[in-house]
């Protein structure tokens, strides 16, 4: 099966209510996810340092799918001053409800997988998952063909 490496939209950073391990962990070990948005979420899947959130719309589609390698949880979303500065570009729009997309699958095997260790594009999705994601907004997301030897520093 074909797999893709995704560089999802980086909308902000961890908020102060995030419970996490060391920042040097890749991906960081997060127990509670507080996403502070600095930029408007244009895609249905966004992130802060390889910690992912999906819109309610995408979350519902994922729940109804038989895709593997993920679970959904709550995420606290707040917006920063920088976000508010640019809000006018999206007048009339509402920030959607988000869910934490916890990825625990094995890259290149499960539909959603996360490469452990330093890696430019650690989120790996299958062709099947990609087909579902493409039904949603993926305007900012970088999409590359998954090549384990090139992308995985963890081997």
């Amino acid at each position: 099966m074909k797999f893709y490496a995704l560089g999802t939209q980086a909308v902000g950073d961890f908020g102060s209510n995030t419970l996490r391990g060391d920042f040097e962990d890749r991906p960081p070990k997060v127990q509670r996810f507080h996403l502070e948005m600095d930029r408007w979420p244009k895609d249905d899947i966004v992130e802060a340092l390889a910690t992912y959130a999906v819109t309610e719309r995408l979350a519902n589609q994922l729940k109804q799918s038989s895709l593997t390698g993920f679970s959904l949880d709550e995420v606290e979303v707040t917006t920063s001053e920088a976000f508010e500065e640019w809000r006018h570009l999206h007048a009339g729009e509402v920030v959607p409800q988000f869910y934490w997309l916890k990825v625990h699958g094995k890259p290149g095997v499960d539909d959603f997988g996360l490469i452990s260790g330093p890696c430019e594009l650690p989120l790996i999705v299958s062709d099947r998952a990609m087909n579902l994601l493409k039904q949603c907004n993926l305007n900012v997301c970088e999409i590359e063909n998954y090549s384990p030897h090139k992308l995985s520093a963890a081997g």
């Binding site: 560089g7 939209q9 980086a10 950073d13 920042f23 040097e24 962990d25 890749r26 991906p27 600095d38 930029r39 408007w40 244009k42 992130e47 340092l49 390889a50 920063s80 001053e81 500065e85 640019w86 570009l89 330093p118 890696c119 430019e120 594009l121 650690p122 900012v140 970088e142 520093a153």
Partner: protein, 474 residues
């Protein structure tokens, strides 16, 4: 351009007078004596000249028809004399005259029975002067039956509608968006604005031929008038403001002495844009740039000509000259105001101001210049367009949080680490591409070295530097 206009004067011996007037301009153009004093003279001269005239309604002036009997002829003469011009009743006529409308006025004349009806032309742009007393006073000479004059005068154009002018402005804004990149770069050059104002003075004096090279000329002019015009471009504009904008940047055509621009359809139909100054002059049309350009640029020039004026202009955009102090707490990415910092430290702002930097650093606090202030103080030429520029940290602020200690807040907020990005480009360039690139870097570099970060800064400068403001040196 021209239109036949009738000026119609009818006087009857029953004392019914009807006058249809055109605008004073029309009368003047057509050689009609329009001013009140002249009307009096004209009325008297006319009466003198025609006192012995006979009219077609005099019996001896009415010819007998070929097959007509004498009885029939006399009956016809009597009928003609009874109602020489077959006039409708004046009230009926008034009611039926679509042209009279609300503008029609009826006034009782001195003769009691006499009514004077004035029908101002619908195109009249200003109230007509009252008819001279000589024209209103009886006795009405019976020989004055009608005075019909056909004149050729330039059609008085409708005032240009705001929505049409708005279209002009949209076209200008499109051009402005295309030109803005060069403009910003240009403005970042030393003394750019002062030089531009000198150029504005030149092209204002160059006159109507200046825009003949449009649209490229327009783009060049946009650069030249940036200080005044850009202030208007990016704001949400009302229709009126857009119209004003159009006046700022477009050549406008006027009939000589007129205050309303000729409407775009007429300009197109007449091909005015392609005409030389001489050709336009022959048509009594002038091409000029609205005075607002002069006013705007003069005001801006005055402001920029002195440091106080520049500071005032900067203040308008929330920029302090010199930069104000802000404070960054260790492990945090965003700077806070002196007031907020003092509150967190439990001291007054005044006390905070007196704390030396070494003491602050000992407490994990850095005092840094507010980064927008710092940027525009470095590039004062960009102050007039400050509200169109967002200031980006070349080293993302989150390095202070995610990689605490790698860089100081002073380094991250240093003016050499700041980049201007035009707001139109910011959403895609800064918010998407640059942030995604840094996120990608950080995923792969959990323990980056200073040099690795600086190399990344250089790489992104090379990749996107041509889109920064200013681009100089990148």
């Amino acid at each position: 351009m021209s239109k036949q206009v009738q000026q119609n004067l009818k006087l009857t011996d029953q004392g019914v007078e009807e006058i249809v007037q055109k605008t004073p301009e029309a009368a003047k153009e057509g050689g009609v004596i329009g001013g009140q004093p002249n009307q009096e003279v004209h009325g008297q001269a006319f009466a003198n000249a025609h006192q012995n005239d006979r009219t077609l309604s005099e019996p001896d002036m009415i010819a007998m028809n070929e097959s007509e009997t004498v009885t029939e002829y006399k009956a016809r003469v009597e009928q003609i004399q009874a109602n020489r011009f077959g006039f409708l009743d004046s009230e009926d006529e008034n009611t039926n005259d679509a042209g009279a409308g609300a503008g029609a006025r009826a006034r009782a004349g001195d003769a009691g029975k006499t009514k004077i009806h004035e029908h101002p032309a619908r195109q009249a742009v200003e109230p007509l002067p009252d008819l001279s007393p000589a024209m209103q006073q009886p006795p009405f000479d019976s020989y004055v039956k009608a005075n019909l004059q056909i004149t050729n005068v330039p059609e008085v154009s409708e005032a240009v509608r705001q929505e049409v002018l708005g279209k002009y402005a949209e076209a200008v804004l499109d051009n402005a968006a295309a030109a803005v990149r060069q403009m910003e770069n240009h403005l970042a050059q030393p003394n750019a604005i002062n030089s531009d104002f000198q150029k504005i003075g030149q092209w204002l004096s160059e006159g109507p031929g200046h825009f003949a090279q449009s649209p490229e000329q327009l783009n060049r002019d946009l650069s030249a008038v940036a200080a005044g015009a850009m202030e208007e471009i990016d704001k949400p504009l009302s229709v009126d403001e857009r119209a004003k904008m159009a006046g700022l940047l477009l050549p406008m055509f006027f009939f000589e002495g007129g205050s309303e621009p000729i409407n775009p359809e007429t300009i197109q139909q007449m091909g005015l844009e392609g005409m030389s100054e001489a050709e336009l002059k022959a048509l009594g049309i002038e091409k000029r740039v609205e005075k607002i350009v002069e006013t705007k640029t003069r005001e801006a020039a005055e402001a920029l000509d002195q440091s106080e004026g520049l500071a005032k202009l900067a203040k308008k955009f929330g920029i302090n000259m010199p930069p104000k102090d802000t404070y960054v707490f260790a492990g945090e990415k965003d700077a806070v105001s002196a007031e907020a910092a003092a509150k967190r430290l439990g001291i007054s702002s005044e006390q905070l101001k007196n704390v030396d930097e070494a003491s602050l650093i000992a407490q994990g606090i850095e005092k840094v210049a507010e980064y927008r202030d710092a940027f525009f103080n470095r590039y004062p030429g960009l102050i007039p367009v400050a509200d169109r520029i967002t200031v980006h940290h070349a080293i993302p602020k989150w390095f202070l949080k995610r990689h605490s200690g790698l860089f100081t807040a002073k380094e991250v907020n240093d003016v050499d680490s700041l980049r201007g990005i035009y707001k139109l480009a910011n959403d895609e360039l800064h918010n998407d591409k640059i942030h995604n690139a840094w996120e990608r870097f950080d995923r792969a570099n959990p323990k980056p070295s200073r040099q690795a970060v600086l190399n990344k800064v250089e790489e992104l400068d090379k990749q996107f530097g041509h889109l920064f403001v200013p681009t100089e040196g990148r």
